[in-house]
């Protein structure tokens, strides 16, 4: 492995005549959207190569080139691995660009010619894990899940040995191409860490559903274990067919974790009582760990590995390296060869949301005809797709805009719940009495608080960071 060797030297590439212009590419289709900027699928005119263009918005920046983009570029330039997205180059657009409505762009602030826009050029990937899993009828096979998990862990292990924390591992940031390759993407929240873990880092990272207990409890000294918790959440989600901790705010998130993993105490997590919010969120009743019980229908080796990933105490949580050695990956059925996986039509969460919305609209029209506005959605094959997305826009006239802001290449940070409460209400899979408990077949009596999609779910992937971006960038020692 690379590790020490990489980056021991100060590199300068061969001299260039500055960045190329974005005009070298033809934009084909928008595949993502966020506060960071839009993401497009584009074709390099000269070579015909398809790439992804992630726009870095400059127009709101009082402090020049955004530090979030600096972080991402810095880290991506350092990482070279088959399971990490490749930043091919950075291109600029000189002229004032036309915005989406076709109005000419604002004249650049400070007369800076680069204000037209800066784009990061990535290799194009056909899917992200969430988009792929949300396809109607999609069922992953066990060798397929093992194959994806192993690649995810390999990529993450590489990041960790190179002292990079990803800090936003979730399905929509895991890209998959039609060769079955998985790549980690969106390093906009990533940062380097040193092994002594003495630096104070912000705990306002990682999308809520995938955020580990130590961050929810307010710790500011943490390490690679935070990413491993997220991996555990994704692993369970792949096996279960839906997110396992869909909290709508931080207290609820912790509660969901405690319900499954038990409440932390000095026995299972030495030192936990010194973490800032430990007392604030101390449960009033006893909460036992019931992970094995809830997921007893999982394969034995899968459950064993999941147990180690969803360990409350970060110090005892399994590392990426050890996870790769787990029995799970070395017992039948073995992980399949990525190339043997079926090829799917392109799917990104941004797009599947769009398609889903179309389906919903059709369904809504149908239902209105039948005058059953509250009728549960028609079950489609592969019901987990239903379960996870809760397509139930029956009573809202406001369409769920395809703002699906969690696409890997660019997604909102620092916005509360971009499609907040109008997302999940009315009808819904639970209302239909489809699988009863929140954790499905394995746990009919599993306690629930408002149900996995009840009320105003913040939506998958909303980062819940609050505040504005500038505050996040400059206010914290990240």
């Amino acid at each position: 492995m690379t590790i020490e060797a990489l980056g021991q030297v100060n590199v300068t590439e061969s001299p260039t005549a500055g960045s190329r212009s974005v005009d070298c590419f033809e934009k084909l289709e928008q595949i993502g959207e966020g506060t960071y900027g839009q993401v497009y699928m584009a074709k390099e005119i000269e070579t015909g190569e398809v790439v992804a263009l992630k726009k870095i918005r400059m127009d709101n920046e009082r402090e020049g080139f955004p530090i979030t983009a600096i972080r991402e570029i810095k880290i991506l330039k350092k990482l070279h691995h088959e399971n990490v997205i490749k930043l091919k180059e950075i291109v600029t657009s000189d002229g004032p660009e036309k915005d989406e409505q076709g109005r000419p762009g604002k004249s650049s602030i400070h007369g800076n010619k680069y204000k037209g826009g800066i784009y990061m050029v990535f290799e194009y990937m056909d899917h992200d894990l969430t988009g792929l899993a949300d396809r109607p009828g999609m069922r992953f096979t066990v060798p397929q899940i093992k194959c994806y998990m192993r690649q995810l862990l390999t990529g993450l292990h590489y990041c960790h040995v190179n002292q990079v924390l990803h800090r936003d591992i979730k399905g929509s940031n895991l890209l998959i191409d039609n060769e079955g390759n998985v790549k980690l993407a969106d390093f906009g929240l990533a940062r380097s860490f040193s092994n002594d873990q003495n630096a104070n880092l912000t705990n306002r990272v990682i999308t809520l559903w995938y955020r580990p207990p130590e961050l929810l409890l307010g710790t500011t000294k943490y390490g690679p274990a935070v990413d491993m918790w997220s991996v555990g959440c994704i692993f369970a989600e792949l096996l279960q067919g839906k997110p396992i901790f869909p909290g709508k705010d931080e207290p609820e998130q912790l509660n969901k974790i405690y319900e499954l993993c038990g409440a932390p105490d000095e026995v299972n997590w030495p030192g936990v009582s010194k973490i800032p919010y430990y007392n604030k969120f101390k449960p009033t009743r006893q909460m036992k760990r019931r992970l094995r019980e809830v997921f007893r229908h999982f394969d034995r080796h899968a459950l064993e590995l999941l147990e180690k990933m969803l360990t409350l105490d970060p110090a005892q949580r399994i590392t990426a390296k050890d996870a790769l050695d787990a029995e799970y990956f070395w017992t039948d059925p073995l992980p399949c060869d990525p190339k043997s996986l079926p090829k799917y039509e392109s799917s990104h969460e941004f797009q599947t949301k769009k398609k889903r919305q179309q389906r919903q609209n059709e369904e809504m029209a149908k239902r209105q005809k039948m005058q059953h506005p509250r009728l549960p959605p028609i079950q489609q094959p592969g019901q987990h797709a239903q379960m996870r997305s809760g397509p139930n826009q029956t009573i809202h006239s406001q369409p769920q805009v395809a703002a699906g802001p969690t696409h890997h290449y660019g997604k909102p940070r620092g916005r509360g719940a971009p499609y907040g409460s109008n997302n999940m209400s009315g009808g819904g899979p639970r209302g239909s009495g489809s699988s009863g408990g929140g954790y499905g077949v394995g746990a009919p009596n599993y306690p629930q608080q408002g149900g996995p999609y009840g009320g105003s779910t913040a939506g998958r992937g909303s980062n819940m960071m609050g505040g504005n971006r500038n505050q996040q960038q400059y206010g914290w020692q990240q």
Binding site: N10, E13, P15, E63, I73, K74, K78, H110, N112, Q477
Partner: protein, 253 residues
């Protein structure tokens, strides 16, 4: 993936001294000599340090900023990229890259405080615009590895990690940024050269320790010589000579 440092693409991209010492043709036309070129870069390294002390950022930020500045001038001319703007811009960019952000307006404030001279006076918009140009010149490579990191483990290994030696070597490393060493040599060799000089100065016998290291002692000694040469000629770098060199840049050809 490179198996080790010596086969990594990074190693191959370190610059040769000749490339670093290439005075841009545009600057040459204005009569800038290699001597002037080095002098201006040294002066700008000092300028970055002075500014950094005002805005209070870590030494690491200074080191990164100076490296950026030196990298810029391996590709760009001083005629087009005024060093008096590039220097504070590099500090501004380095402060972001090293996670100790400094606001542009603060930099502008201290620039005015440090230099009354109009030629140093730049506004926020100038810095922000130059930031993009610097990023391009750096080809967005922002990660810099410094000798500081290897210094303390090396000292410890050599059994020289007392306060006196630590301070002396640290100071020597600081001074290496007044030269182009960081563009030419791997950081751990620069650290070793500083340890070598310090051990000679303090009369510590490190011969056996150096022999056990698998490094090319010739390179370490060459770096050491370069540092000593710099100290030797340091007193010749007078304010007048620096101003004269900078003056040439403002002349019309």
């Amino acid at each position: 993936m490179a198996a080790n440092f010596w086969t990594s693409s990074h190693y191959k991209h370190l610059l040769d001294q000749e490339d670093v010492d290439m005075v841009n043709p545009l600057d040459k036309e204005k009569g800038i000599t290699l001597e002037d070129f080095k002098l201006i870069k040294m002066h700008m390294a000092n300028y970055i340090l002075k500014l950094a002390q005002q805005v209070k950022v870590r030494q690491r930020v200074v080191a990164t900023a100076v490296t950026y500045m030196r990298r810029v001038y391996t590709k760009k001319s001083m005629t087009e990229y005024d060093p008096r703007l590039v220097a504070p811009t590099c500090l501004y960019l380095a402060s972001k890259a090293e996670e100790s952000t400094v606001q542009a307006r603060l930099l502008v404030f201290y620039i005015k405080k440090l230099y009354a001279d109009d030629k140093y006076r730049y506004e926020i918009k100038d810095i922000l615009e130059m930031e993009m140009k610097v990023l391009e010149a750096l080809n967005y490579y922002l990660v810099v590895y410094h000798p500081y990191r290897s210094l303390s483990p090396l000292l410890q290994d050599a059994g020289l990690n007392d306060l006196n030696m630590t301070q002396l070597t640290w100071g020597l490393v600081n001074d290496t940024y007044k030269m182009d060493l960081i563009l030419v040599h791997p950081p751990h060799l620069i650290a070793l050269a500083c340890i070598y000089i310090a051990s000679v100065l303090r009369e510590k016998d490190t011969t056996a320790w150096f022999e056990e290291l698998r490094v090319d002692m010739n390179v370490v000694k060459n770096i050491s010589m370069e540092i000593l040469d710099f100290y030797e000629s340091n007193r010749m770098f007078t304010e007048e000579r620096i101003n004269a060199a900078l003056q040439k840049l403002t002349l019309r050809p």
